[in-house]
């Protein structure tokens, strides 16, 4: 009822103001992946009503005339974005490992998934970089509170302005006269992602996670997965004259769930137990008895429903209105997969077999009423899935070297396709890694062997490097690389590890420091980015001082200082005499006279 009233009110308002309405739609996609995992991607799109965007300088705080009308678009986000002059905002929360070798490409061609940890970049309108950075601080502090994440730790030493990486991307906004657009980026690779970050994501939705596909989103289930990624992409979309601009927000939550683990959790609870003997699946082709068993992998005949995996069913459509669509789609091979929709209203269950509807891999199902919906997956062979194409590129980054004062970085890019792959490699390293780019070397590895490349320009079309400044700026390396077909390109370079100050070490200093993942944007023939990926983050160990020593160090160092000072001071200031002269002088001294008199008295006795 509430939603009906809301929508009625919206349409009234629309009629009064004569503005185009805000728009919202949501899509949920399921795709069984190899190794009995299930990829669930939730996608929500919201467009705000257009408004004339203004630049809010430092002085315009008094005359705040921001966006006042929010219906579907989240009210909490709008003013933050407008007050910090943010024209584009991208947020990524990711954790886990998505195995592109077995599962194929990342969902949405990687455009919605970040590297491990939290990643944030924004396009900010400002007259100069300093003003942009001031707005950036404002933005990150506000987002920190909103998303319960450590965005407030984003400061100059980790902020970069990517060049090549974002050259290809267009912004649908033209800056005011005298202003330009600044792109700022930062990542927090060691940020844990948890339910606290999901709750604010749901609060941004008009359904608040109560209705529609978002009703499935339970933090305990979403984050109990092999890999998950949440994203928010907020862009400004303007009309042709750039006078009226709407904010478009795409929100996605993707999770690759281990089905077997989720099911086991229901049966056995949260604590894993050893499989009892009678449930062990032994390799029949080998010898097996009650004592010996070569266990097989996970079962291949499976039947599960999303209620058992997410703990809930979908509570009907998002709104009781046909204009807002709630769609659930499936990508599965219909020859082995059977998918059923189970709708339920006050105990009346209705089952619909979806696979019969079409013999295609893609099944789309629209939810329009307010029943509870559950979907059942049954398969005889879960290894056969609707395959995702392999990614255009595989990239692995690792640390080399074994000491705590220097090391190297080795990145290998493998292209298994039969054509060249062009991509931009973006890497930002913390300042305490002192990169020596003069040690940069490229190797080419193909079926005939490994060669060290003499002319780097053969593979590097463009490059940009900004060295780090201690405690002020990270180093930033961007390379436009081309990998020839069926070969690997390996880049190597060295760095020195810096010793930090006492207070700069975290409490668990010997755990190491996380280095943010490198971002890779693969570029197609039309010079547009068509695939994005990240390398894994790195764990860097730095030399550590002894943390129990502060006072000892002061004492010991100052002892050496004063020893040197005192002895030299004596040598320089005192008068030189022979020892005979000294004896003579001391015999005439007061102390000697007293001593003599004491001796004399003692001698008398």
């Amino acid at each position: 009822m509430l939603y009906t009233a809301l929508l009625l009110w919206i349409s009234c308002l629309q009629a009064v103001l004569g503005q185009p309405s805000e728009a919202y739609n949501e899509v949920l996609k399921f795709r069984p992946l190899p190794r009995n995992s299930l990829l669930a991607s939730f996608e929500f799109n919201i467009v705000s009503s257009p408004v004339q965007l203004k630049y809010h300088g430092e002085d315009s705080r008094q005359t705040w005339e921001g966006h006042e009308h929010y219906e579907l678009f989240p009210r909490v986000l709008g003013p933050i974005v407008e007050a910090s002059n943010t024209r584009e905002l991208h947020l990524r929360f990711s954790q886990g490992w998505y195995d592109t070798e077995s599962s194929g490409r990342l969902p949405f061609n990687g455009s919605k998934s970040g590297g491990t940890g939290v990643e944030l970049w924004a396009v900010i309108e400002a007259p100069d970089l300093d003003a942009a950075k001031a707005d950036w601080v404002k933005l990150t502090n506000a987002l920190s509170g909103l998303f319960c994440a450590s965005f407030n730790f984003i400061n100059d030493p980790i902020t970069t302005s990517p060049r090549l990486q974002f050259e290809g991307k267009k912004t649908g906004y033209l800056a005011n006269l005298g202003n330009s657009l600044f792109l700022l980026r930062a990542a927090l690779p060691n940020e844990p992602i948890c339910t606290e970050n999901l709750t604010p994501m749901l609060r941004l939705l008009p359904t608040r996670g109560k209705r529609g596909i978002s009703s499935l989103l339970d933090g305990h289930k979403i984050f109990d997965s092999l890999w998950h990624s949440m994203s928010i992409d907020l862009v400004t979309q303007c009309d042709d004259s750039f006078s009226n601009c709407a904010l478009r927000m795409d929100q996605t939550i993707i999770s690759a769930i281990d089905v077997i683990r989720s099911l086991r959790r229901i049966e056995e609870g949260g604590i894993p137990k050893p499989t009892p003997g009678e449930k062990l699946r032994c390799d029949e082709s080998r010898y097996h008895d009650i004592w010996e068993c070569f266990p097989l992998g996970d079962p291949e005949d499976l039947s599960y429903d999303i209620e058992s995996i997410f703990g809930r069913a979908i509570h009907g459509a998002a709104f009781e209105d046909s204009s807002v669509s709630t769609e659930v789609s499936f990508e599965a091979d219909p020859s082995v997969w059977q998918i059923e929709a189970i709708s339920n209203r006050s105990g009346q269950e209705k089952r619909t077999d979806l696979t019969n509807a079409g013999q295609l891999n893609h099944i789309s199902y629209k939810i329009a009423d307010q029943k509870d919906y559950n979907f059942n997956f049954t398969t005889a062979n879960s290894t056969i899935t609707s395959p995702l194409p392999p990614p255009p590129l595989h990239a692995y980054r690792s640390l080399t070297g074994y000491s705590q004062d220097k090391g190297g970085i080795r990145v290998s890019f493998t292209n298994l396709n039969s054509n060249n792959v062009k991509f931009i490699y973006f890497e930002s390293l913390p300042w305490f890694m002192r990169v020596y780019l003069s040690t940069f070397k490229i190797e080419l590895q193909n079926t005939t062997g490994t060669y060290s490349v003499k002319d780097e320009n053969e593979f590097i079309k463009k490059s940009y490097f900004k060295p780090a400044i201690d405690r002020k700026r990270p180093s930033q390396l961007e390379l436009f690389l081309t990998v020839p077909p069926e070969s690997s390109l390996i880049i190597n370079y060295d760095f020195d590890k810096s010793l930090l100050l006492y207070a700069e070490y975290p409490p668990d200093a010997n755990h190491g420091f996380d280095v943010e993942p490198a971002a890779i944007s693969v570029i197609g023939d039309d010079n547009e980015i068509f695939y994005e990926m990240h390398t894994t983050s790195l764990l860097l160990t730095l030399p550590t001082p002894d943390f129990s020593m502060p006072y000892n160090v002061i004492i010991l160092t100052c002892t050496v200082m004063s020893l040197a000072f005192g002895s030299i001071f004596n040598l320089l200031t005192k008068k030189v005499i022979t020892e005979e002269e000294l004896e003579k002088l001391s015999a005439e001294g007061k102390l000697a006279k007293i001593m003599n008199s004491v001796k004399r008295k003692l001698g008398k006795r």
Partner: protein, 429 residues
């Protein structure tokens, strides 16, 4: 002469052949903490060449701390010499500089003995030329420094040139120009201007020339180089990365010096206090040593003094208080000490103890560092203890030298007979 050329040849071959056969050696040595600091490292100089080649400002980053003119001049080799030959040219350059320094030391040694002979009235016999050359060229500290291609070699070269111009060529102006260059290359040498001026006065006895022309020429040449660097780089950023890094102890990297560990362990709010205090400490003995060893005119037999020893003692003091201490500073000072063979050196008592302590320090330092950094079975305190010993060695040498000087001075001023001079026992009140 024959001996000298033989010694020079062997010294040159060591410096030329080893890095030519092992071209990675200078880069490897550049990250050995005892041999090069962030300020003098060849690896970072090479990185600066790379930046120049790729149109990146070498001073807009935290790697390069070499002054712009040095980078530009050395960059010519990088730019115009192709790769396999380039390293050989670098090796040849470093070898040549070291040979010239060795020859300059010979000239200084000759001057010193001559000067002292004239002053004492009795002949002062120092070491042979070939020995002086060997003390420099075969000094392991100097060989290692040279093989690491540390840029401190150039500072040493310009500083010895300062002395040669002043003492041998008797040209104060050129000497001050060289001093300006030295200071430009390595800012801590600025303190040595005080004993050098005292030395100049002791030879020339022209207060106006020495105390007005000298400093003004020095400041002018230094200022000229700074301005030239400014025009070359079109910004003042190099001041920050070349000089402020040294003055404010900004680069924290383990080294043999006293300060790095104290700043690592220091709580933030104490840091400015200790920065100020350590700077005062670095300077505090420069003037007292110069005054005590000053060759006062007309003071009769009361005091002889030795201004050249003041220069050496101040160099030792600077090596002791250097925030980025390496073997080269001490190595250079140790190569100067044999010059005093005829005067002060015979009165040094602790040479054996100092030598053994130094040996232990040099042997243990890489081991302890390896235990801390690579094996992880030791911690930073191991290496820190070595830096304390390093400091104590400096203190010992300074004490021994100054005491030897005082003994020598006493013997000369009080006309102690040579036969009783050996058994004389002195003390201080």
């Amino acid at each position: 002469m024959k001996d000298v050329s033989r010694v020079c040849l062997i010294g040159a071959l060591i410096r030329l052949i080893i890095p030519t056969v092992l071209p990675d050696l200078p880069f490897w040595f550049s990250s050995v903490v005892e041999l090069s600091s962030p300020i003098t490292s060849f690896k970072s100089l090479y990185e600066a060449f790379f930046y120049l080649e790729h149109d990146i400002n070498p001073y807009d980053g935290g790697i390069n701390h070499h002054p712009p003119l040095l980078v530009m001049v050395m960059n010519m080799i990088y730019e115009y010499v192709p790769v396999p030959l380039r390293f050989i040219v670098f090796n040849a350059l470093y070898t040549f500089v070291d040979l010239v320094i060795a020859w300059q030391l010979v000239l200084i040694n000759r001057w010193y003995n001559e000067y002292k002979t004239k002053k004492n009235g009795a002949p002062v016999k120092g070491f042979d030329d070939s020995l002086i050359v060997s003390f420099y060229l075969f000094n392991p500290l100097i060989i290692l420094t040279n093989l690491s291609h540390s840029t401190s070699v150039f500072s040493i070269f310009f500083f010895t040139e300062t002395l040669v111009q002043l003492l041998v060529k008797k040209n104060l102006a050129r000497s001050m120009l060289c001093m300006g260059v030295t200071t430009y290359l390595s800012v801590r040498y600025v303190y040595l201007i005080i004993p050098v001026l005292a030395l100049a006065y002791s030879i020339q006895r022209e207060p106006k020339a020495v105390y007005f022309q000298g400093p003004s020429l020095f400041v002018a040449s230094f200022a000229f180089l700074i301005l030239a660097s400014f025009t070359l780089t079109a910004s003042w950023e190099f001041i920050e990365s070349c000089y402020f890094v040294v003055i404010f102890y900004k680069k924290i990297k383990p080294n043999l010096g006293l300060w790095w560990y104290i700043f690592t362990e220091m709580f933030d709010f104490f840091t400015p206090f200790y920065t100020g205090m350590f700077n005062i400490y670095s300077f505090c003995f420069i003037i007292p040593i110069t005054l005590r060893l000053f060759e006062y005119q007309g003071s009769g037999k009361k005091h002889i003094g030795d201004c050249f020893l003041a220069v050496v003692a101040c160099a030792l003091w600077l090596s002791f208080t250097n925030p980025y201490s390496t073997l080269s500073d001490l190595g250079f000072a140790l190569s100067l000490i044999p010059i005093f063979k005829g005067t002060v050196l015979p009165h040094c008592k602790y040479l054996l103890i100092i030598g053994l302590t130094l040996l232990v320090c040099l042997l243990l330092s890489p081991i302890f560092y390896y235990c801390w950094i690579v094996l992880g079975n030791g911690n930073s305190n191991f290496f820190y203890s070595i830096s304390l010993i390093w400091g104590i060695i400096h203190g010992l040498i300074l004490n021994d030298l100054l005491w030897a000087f005082l003994t020598h001075d006493y013997i000369k001023t009080n006309d102690v007979k040579p036969e009783s001079a050996a058994s004389i026992r002195l003390t201080q009140i």
